[in-house]
């Protein structure tokens, strides 16, 4: 069974639906007790950084997520979910979960492309990536974001995307996996990626 952190705002319908199609049982989580019942966790990302972290703190999920991840439970962060894994973000004042060293920055004004980075862009997966099993090494995924993570430890980067600058669009460190794009919105490739996560 996979638990989805439920924020009460934004579209998590698609991720529920995607897991459902994989034949996975889903539990909506807005309380730490429920977190213990699931084998895996999806941290979707909707809205702004501070709002997300404040929600996790208010529901006591902040510490619970850190505890569960330390125990080795696989956790997939999507979009803002990935960003919240890191220590801090230019978008807000709150500290991130700090599961991964590094910070989150806004796309620099100097890039000559529109921001938010919105639409289908190429992800180049590295060889060390487990989440991209059976997905072509260069594949399109759907992005919708203005901020991106800069991991301190470059070894955790397992996929990159270029949009004015090259950034880490996939990070994998043991049981912690983050994707900056939306697999639940990325047609077939996204579906395979979610299936891969369910095998970790």
């Amino acid at each position: 069974m996979t638990g989805i952190i439920h924020y009460g705002a934004g579209n998590i319908f698609s991720i529920i639906n995607c897991l459902d199609r994989c034949g996975e049982r889903v539990l909506m989580i807005s309380h730490p007790d429920r977190l213990k019942k699931v084998e895996r966790i999806v941290l979707p990302g909707v809205g702004a950084f501070d709002r997300g972290i404040e929600y996790l703190k208010k529901t006591c999920l902040y510490q619970a997520l850190k505890d569960e991840s330390e125990k080795g439970k696989p956790i997939l962060g999507i979009c803002l979910g990935l960003q919240m894994f890191f220590e801090e973000s230019e978008e807000g004042k709150q500290n991130g979960l700090g599961l991964l060293p590094g910070f989150v920055r806004k796309f620099p004004k100097e890039i000559k492309f529109p921001v938010p980075h919105m639409g289908w862009n190429t992800v180049r997966f590295y060889r060390n990536s487990r989440i991209s099993n059976k997905i072509p090494a260069k594949s399109s995924f759907y992005f919708a974001h203005s901020f991106y993570a800069i991991p301190q430890d470059k070894k955790i980067i397992s996929g990159t995307t270029t949009y004015g600058i090259k950034f880490a669009s996939v990070v994998e460190k043991n049981n912690i996996i983050g994707v900056q794009f939306h697999p639940e919105k990325s047609a077939k490739n996204g579906f395979i990626l979610i299936q891969n996560f369910l095998k970790i």
Partner: protein
């Protein structure tokens, strides 16, 4: 590389598609899921549903439609038409829409942009602007499906919605819409020059070259298409193959497999 998006737009009324693909089997023609799946399978990058119903039951029918569509396709989709409050946005997003497109209400109550973006993130707030040319390089914003002039300058409004937190602009030229003589490239250029957020072009496409022009000269991030696709004058594959040959980045699943 970020690809240019091809976005079919379907009009829905009371939960049924009223302006969509002209299927030979008319029994299916109104089914939003069948229409959505068709375009999704054909390679559409996103979908837009425009709700034109005006009944009291509107909220309920659109909610069910959004759920049905979201359960059956896995590409992003936007819902627009008659959105008037944060609650309307919440209902649509909770039921599986990825973005909402707001037009008239944003003019009457610009706070909805700021509050919507703050609550749900900029990425899901699309502001639709209907523009009519009133002088050289000057356009005016129209509301209520292009019927009522607002006196507001399109350039000022585009800048304002960006400041308020809109994530995208869906820009329709009222003058070009339905003519099939091509987009108002000057309008597109003018707006894409002053805002940083992506702009989706709408209104006027009649042939492949028009799409190429608005994506290059007009600097549009995406094109919204209705009749041209629904009446099968062009298919998404035709469009993408054409653009690909002209070196415009597009998402072609076939390509990806050869890269592995």
């Amino acid at each position: 590389m970020l690809t240019k998006r091809i976005i079919p737009c379907l009009d829905v009324k009371n939960g049924k598609v009223v302006k969509g693909i002209h299927f030979e089997n008319l029994k299916d023609a109104g089914d939003p899921v069948i229409q959505a799946k068709y375009y999704s399978d054909e390679g559409a990058d996103e979908l837009v549903f425009l709700d034109i119903s005006a009944t009291i039951e509107k909220r309920k029918t659109i909610k069910n439609l959004v759920r049905d569509v979201a359960s059956n396709i896995s590409i992003p989709f936007t819902v627009g038409g008659g959105i008037g409050s944060i609650k309307d946005i919440l209902i649509l997003l909770e039921n599986g829409a990825d973005k909402v497109s707001i037009n008239t209400c944003a003019i009457k109550n610009p706070d909805i942009i700021y509050n919507g973006a703050k609550m749900f993130g900029s990425q899901c707030i699309v502001i639709a602007i209907d523009a009519k040319r009133i002088a050289k390089k000057t356009w005016q914003v129209y509301i209520e499906s292009g019927k009522i002039p607002t006196g507001i300058d399109v350039k000022n409004w585009a800048k304002k919605v960006e400041e308020l937190g809109a994530g995208e602009i869906l820009l329709t030229s009222i003058d070009a819409d339905g003519t099939m003589n091509g987009y108002d490239i000057e309008l597109m250029r003018c707006i894409t020059k002053i805002v940083k957020i992506p702009v989706i072009a709408s209104g006027g496409a009649g042939k492949l070259q028009h799409l190429y022009d608005v994506l290059t000269l007009g600097n549009a991030s995406a094109v919204l298409l209705a009749s041209l696709l629904h009446y099968r004058m062009l298919t998404i594959k035709d469009i993408k193959n054409f653009l690909f040959r002209k070196k415009i980045p597009v998402r072609l699943e076939k390509n990806e497999n050869t890269c592995s």
